[in-house]
């Protein structure tokens, strides 16, 4: 049974029990009040007739007694009136019950007359109540002469007045009271149950949402935050779950990112190792071919048509040499010579290298931060990185454009989220980075291939125009120094590569390789 149903049934059972008890008490109280009212009325009537019948009882005069009794007989609930002498003879009787029956009524007895002190109940059964009152007369001889207070007047019982009351009205009232109370109780229980159901549903709804969310996360790995409007414990539970899910998701993302990085690094390393081996062997082969070509050229006349073929061989050898060189650079061992390098100074030199007065439609702009921007790295590698990026940028601007190289110092806390998310764990948010941004106004990188641009041998250039190792080399070098690369590109508008390298003032965490 669900939690909500348990609460609902608990409440409903409690309400039923309470209302049953309350209804029972109300019925009993109402019935008691009505019964007491009936008895009080009977006592009053018995008292009235006992006072009004003194003369008639004393004189044993039937007409006087009838006159006294008639007013009482007209009262509702009175079914019989009887008047007795002191020796219990019936002097007068009116009503539907026989006077003898008063003495014979269950629990009733005329023998009780000896104990009578005012009006008393002398018998009761399921349908009737019998009351008896003494008929008294003052007897003191002194009262014949003087007026005395009623309290000091002695009295003599000269007879009795009996009244029988019908309990039918009491029964009717009891029935009506039961019906009323049952109806009210049922209505309260039903309305209360509906109300409780709605409340319980409202209370447990966040729990249900939470359950669904947890199940979905467990089965499908899909996280949907649970929104709870209340401010109670359930809301706090939902918030805690949401926070937990976010943390788990975050960690999963980091894990995937690290795994990707690891995969990429391993892949790079594997490729690097392969490249190193192949490059080395290839270089040897090329050396042999180059030597043979050299000797061949020496043997061939300058005008010989065979020179055409040896020139082609030389050209191919040169491309192959460049390729092996790139492969060697890519696979170069991690033991580099890291020294403090002023990035601004380095880029200023690269600008000179890149400048080509022949290219009128190609502009290079450099915007450097003030002062020095020092990183601890191999200057040759950094130069390689910047050059590779600039070459790619230039290649993307076939019909000319603007190449912008800029530098600035950026704190980790000020980095955009998408960049700082890539920072390894344990990085100090106060750490400073040297940002090197290379921006072009070229064709841009399509979104579909953006994730692949750093893979070794991946290229969009024509065959022979690129080795596909440039960006892989950039990635490897930047990673080596625990830096970051960020790429933003829009097809048709251009691309910006941003390299972040830790500045030399802060100590770097030991990431290992």
């Amino acid at each position: 049974m669900s939690f909500g149903l348990k609460i609902f049934f608990s409440y409903v059972i409690s309400v039923v029990i309470v209302m049953t008890v309350v209804a029972s008490v109300m019925i009993h109280r109402h019935f008691s009040l009505f019964r007491n009212g009936l008895i009080d009325e009977g006592k009053m009537l018995a008292d009235i007739i006992s006072r009004n019948s003194v003369t008639g009882v004393y004189a044993e005069n039937e007409s006087l007694l009838k006159e006294a009794a008639s007013a009482i007989m007209n009262q509702p609930n009175v079914i019989a009136v009887s008047l007795y002498s002191a020796d219990k003879r019936v002097l007068f009787h009116a009503g539907s019950r026989e006077p003898e029956q008063i003495g014979a009524a269950p629990g009733g007895s005329m023998d009780k007359t000896a104990e009578l002190r005012g009006v008393e109940i002398i018998g009761e059964d399921n349908n009737t109540i019998s009351l008896l009152a003494p008929v008294e007369m003052g007897i003191s001889r002194e009262d014949l002469y003087f007026e005395r207070s009623p309290a000091s007047v002695k009295t003599l019982v000269i007879g009795y007045a009996g009244i029988i009351l019908n309990k039918a009205s009491m029964k009717r009232e009891k029935r009506a009271s039961i019906e009323r109370n049952l109806t009210t109780t049922a209505a309260i229980i039903i309305l209360g149950s509906i109300f409780i159901f709605l409340i319980v549903k409202r209370i447990t709804e966040p729990l249900v949402k939470l359950t669904v969310s947890v199940r979905k996360f467990g089965e499908q790995g899909v996280f949907e935050p649970v929104h709870v409007e209340s401010k109670d414990e359930i809301a706090r539970l939902a918030e805690t779950f949401n926070a937990m899910y976010e943390n788990v998701s975050k960690r999963e993302k980091e894990k995937r990112h690290l795994e990707e990085q690891l995969g990429h690094s391993q892949k790079m390393e594997a490729v690097g190792t392969l490249s190193r081996g192949v490059a080395h062997d290839f270089d040897n082969i090329l050396s042999t071919i180059k030597g043979a070509t050299y000797l061949l050229n020496k043997k061939i006349a300058k005008e010989s048509p065979l020179r055409e073929y040896t020139e082609k061989i030389d050209n191919s050898l040169e491309r192959a040499r460049l390729l092996t060189e790139s492969m060697i650079v890519f696979s170069r061992s991690q033991s580099v010579r890291a020294v403090p390098v002023d990035i601004n100074n380095l880029i200023a030199k690269i600008k000179v290298i890149l400048a080509d007065p022949a290219q009128q439609n190609f502009e290079i702009r450099v915007s450097l931060s003030e002062g020095e921007l020092i990183v601890t790295a191999d200057p040759v590698q950094i130069e390689q990185v910047v050059l590779n990026l600039c070459i790619n940028a230039k290649d993307a601007m076939h019909e000319g454009g603007l190449l912008t190289i800029s530098t600035q110092k950026v704190m980790a806390a000020d980095m955009p989220q998408r960049i700082s998310a890539k920072l390894p764990q344990g990085y100090d948010s106060a750490a400073g980075f040297a940002e090197i941004a290379v921006r072009d106004t070229g064709t841009g990188i399509h979104e579909d291939i953006k994730d692949k641009i750093f893979e070794p041998f991946f290229t969009t250039k024509e065959v022979g125009r690129g080795s596909g190792l440039g960006l892989a080399i950039v990635y490897g070098i930047v990673n080596q120094y625990n830096g970051l690369i960020d790429v933003q590109s829009k097809t048709g508008e251009g691309t910006v590569f941003k390299i972040y390298l830790p500045v030399a003032e802060k100590a770097l965490p030991d990431m290992g390789n």
């Binding site: 004393y58 004189a59 005069n61 001889r141 002194e142 002469y145 007026e147 000091s152």
Partner: protein
């Protein structure tokens, strides 16, 4: 000179001693009396005042019966020389006392008064039949037949005496018996046409609020006046009544007490009829019934209700 002074001194000393002795004797003559009163009503207090005037006694304590005090214990504590019972209930309480004098006052007529022990005497409230008949004939001189109801044995001897007195005066006493409370009405009805005057006796069996209402109705319907024994009935419709004066009854009782202190109590109990009586007339009722009462009687009456 010295001797003269000593003699004079001795003389004055003797006078002083004699005077002291005399005073003590006077003080010791005032006997202690404890009063037991049936209820706290004005006539009883008037009677007690009358007693005080003549008994030459000291009222040590007044006990009211409705206070629920233990009378026996009180008497033991106070040790009075006599007891005064005011009212019938008080007398009933003190009937068993036999070692000191008990005097009663303001007690209605009862046969039991005739058989009290010799230490109990007093004044009853009942007026002698002779006085009553005399008064009836003074107020109603033309009356020849007087009706009376006999319902208890208390008044048997009174009625016997009354019959003799009436007969001697040429008056017929019509006595109707009523053996039960219910037959009083029929007894009254049977007097129709047989009497000229209804004589109401202080008999609680025959007289109560219900029977008196019936008597009044009979009286008005048949123009038969009622001669009663208490003022309250005259106020309610009886034509005349001969009543006692509580204060003078008290004085009479005081004399009895004084005699007890002086002489002790004798062989038998003494019951004294009240000497001073009061005539009360309701002239308004008399006029309504067409009864003319003599002016002298009106003047003689102690209270006339107009």
């Amino acid at each position: 000179m010295l001797a003269f002074l000593m003699i004079r001194k001795a003389f004055f000393l003797t006078i002083t001693v004699l005077l002291s002795l005399l005073c003590n004797t006077a003080i010791s003559l005032a006997s202690d009396v404890v009063v037991v009163m049936s209820s706290d009503i004005k006539p009883y207090h008037e009677a007690l005042e009358g007693v005080k005037e003549t008994c030459k006694c000291r009222i040590k304590d007044v006990i009211f019966l409705n206070e629920g005090i233990d009378i026996g214990r009180k008497i033991s504590e106070t040790k009075p020389e006599a007891l005064l019972a005011v009212g019938l209930d008080a007398l009933e309480k003190l009937k068993s006392v036999n070692n000191i004098p008990v005097v009663y006052v303001m007690v209605p007529h009862s046969r039991s008064l005739m058989s009290l022990p010799n230490n109990i005497s007093g004044t009853c409230m009942f007026i002698s039949p002779e006085s009553q008949i005399d008064a009836m004939l003074d107020v109603f001189p033309r009356v020849k037949r007087i009706g009376v109801i006999r319902s208890s044995r208390d008044y048997e001897d009174v009625l016997l005496e009354a019959e003799k007195i009436a007969q001697s005066m040429g008056i017929k006493l019509v006595v109707k018996n009523s053996q039960s409370q219910g037959s009083v009405f029929s007894a009254i009805d049977s007097m129709k046409g047989e009497i000229d005057l209804f004589w109401m006796l202080a008999d609680s069996t025959a007289v109560n609020r219900e029977t008196f209402e019936y008597m009044l109705r009979f009286s008005f319907q048949n123009r038969i006046p009622i001669f009663s024994f208490a003022q309250k009935y005259v106020e309610m419709g009886a034509v005349a009544a001969l009543t006692v004066n509580p204060h003078s009854v008290g004085r009479q009782t005081g004399e009895i007490l004084k005699n007890f202190f002086r002489d002790g109590y004798g062989d038998h109990a003494e019951m004294v009829y009240p000497a001073e009586l009061s005539l009360i007339i309701n002239r308004k009722i008399a006029n309504k019934m067409g009864i003319r009462i003599d002016r002298k009687i009106i003047e003689k009456a102690d209270n006339v209700i107009e």
